[in-house]
């Protein structure tokens, strides 16, 4: 479940995001490859009785394309490999990879393809797209905030909530919330 990054950069670039964008406007447009270094995809699921259950995906890939003239035409594609899930507890990782949750053997990829990017502020945008996991696809929304733009590198902080039950991953509810909170840092490098 992941989000994609936003085409935030686009608005950053196009819109008058002052410090960051002004200078970089002409540079921001283009295609970025999400770099594993400087990027992370973390998630939290609330637990009954308090506390949460934290995890992260170690392997993923994707691209961010910033449209020079129209933020709304920016694109984000993200592919996550659920096999790489990690929680710090091996037995839980194994459970998550199994057909109880991700069924990583039969569904090795979780994909997000953006369908629209809507600017919501100077450095923020909502990215809507189609999330596919375990063979099921639903529209999802993520919020992206431009976190840095320097040289050929762009960085977004992306958050969003996904209901796991829709993807056939409802195991453990209500002990574990149906809502998965994503928290991602996505760093893209141009080229």
């Amino acid at each position: 479940m992941k989000a994609r990054i936003l085409g935030l950069a686009a608005f950053a670039a196009c819109l008058a995001v002052p410090a960051i964008a002004a200078a970089a406007l002409s540079d921001a447009a283009g295609s970025y490859t999400i770099s594993p270094s400087g990027s992370s995809i973390r998630f939290t699921i609330g637990k009954a009785g308090g506390g949460g259950f934290d995890g992260a995906f170690g392997r993923f890939k994707g691209t961010i394309r910033i449209d020079n003239g129209d933020v709304g035409r920016s694109k984000v594609d993200l592919t996550i490999y659920p096999e790489s899930v990690g929680t710090g507890q091996g037995r839980i990782d194994q459970f998550l990879r199994s057909d109880a949750v991700f069924d990583a053997a039969n569904n090795p990829e979780i994909q997000f393809r953006s369908t629209s990017v809507t600017r919501t502020g100077d450095t923020t945008a909502v990215v809507t797209g189609r999330l596919t996991a375990r063979g099921k696809t639903f529209p999802e929304k993520f919020t992206a905030e431009l976190d840095g733009l320097k040289g050929g590198t762009i960085r977004f902080h992306v958050t969003g909530k996904v209901l796991r039950s829709r993807y056939g991953m409802d195991v453990g509810t209500p002990l574990y919330s149906n809502v998965v909170d994503f928290n991602m840092m996505l760093t893209g490098r141009k080229g």
Partner: protein
């Protein structure tokens, strides 16, 4: 004749009879469920069966507390005069052991989930969150309580089997009313 809720000097009341059979059936069901849930291939089904096992475990604990309170507040009908000295002495010990296992088994399961490093919450029948016992979680403690729970389960089911065999012996060989009185309640007339 009306069935009495309380025991009398010769028979069990229906409260004790219902608690006895309900606990007995759930106890045996829990043994089977516990055996299956850790051997089943599907991790999802295994997870769900384990949560069900925890739910029934807490139900058992509640029923057992009720049963012990009821037992302490009621006379227990004595064994028939035909019962020999050896059995007269050992039967109460076996019954005491059965009660001890009824308490120890759910408690050991509760300890197990409390110390497990998986930190899976417990919600009996999805109704409410059952807090953990105040024990320190660790892999070592988890494996200790898993073993304790496992050994207690096997010892407990062995005692249940002995108990059932003894009841059948009374009914079919000795032909006394020891089993019958755990089926037919005392009546108001007695």
């Amino acid at each position: 004749m009306q069935a009495s809720i309380t025991n009398t000097s010769t028979r069990y009341g229906w409260a004790m009879i219902i608690l006895h059979w309900l606990i007995g059936i759930i106890f045996i069901g829990q043994f089977v469920l516990g055996f299956v849930m850790v051997r089943i291939e599907s991790q999802r089904t295994s997870f769900e069966l384990i949560q069900l096992h925890k739910s029934f475990g807490f139900l058992l604990l509640g029923l057992i507390i009720l049963r012990i309170a009821w037992r302490l507040g009621n006379v227990a009908p004595p064994l028939p005069a035909s019962v020999g000295t050896l059995e007269r002495r050992t039967a109460p010990l076996v019954h005491l052991a059965l009660y001890a296992f009824q308490v120890a088994l759910p408690l050991s399961g509760w300890a197990l989930v409390s110390v497990s490093t998986l930190e899976i919450p417990t919600m009996p029948f999805d109704l409410f969150v059952m807090p953990n016992l105040p024990l320190t979680e660790s892999d070592a403690a988890e494996s200790f309580w898993a073993s304790a729970h496992w050994y207690l389960a096997y010892a407990g089911i062995t005692l249940v089997a002995l108990h059932a065999a003894a009841a059948l012996r009374h009914h079919f060989l000795l032909r006394d009313n020891v089993l019958a009185r755990m089926i037919t309640p005392s009546s108001g007339g007695e």
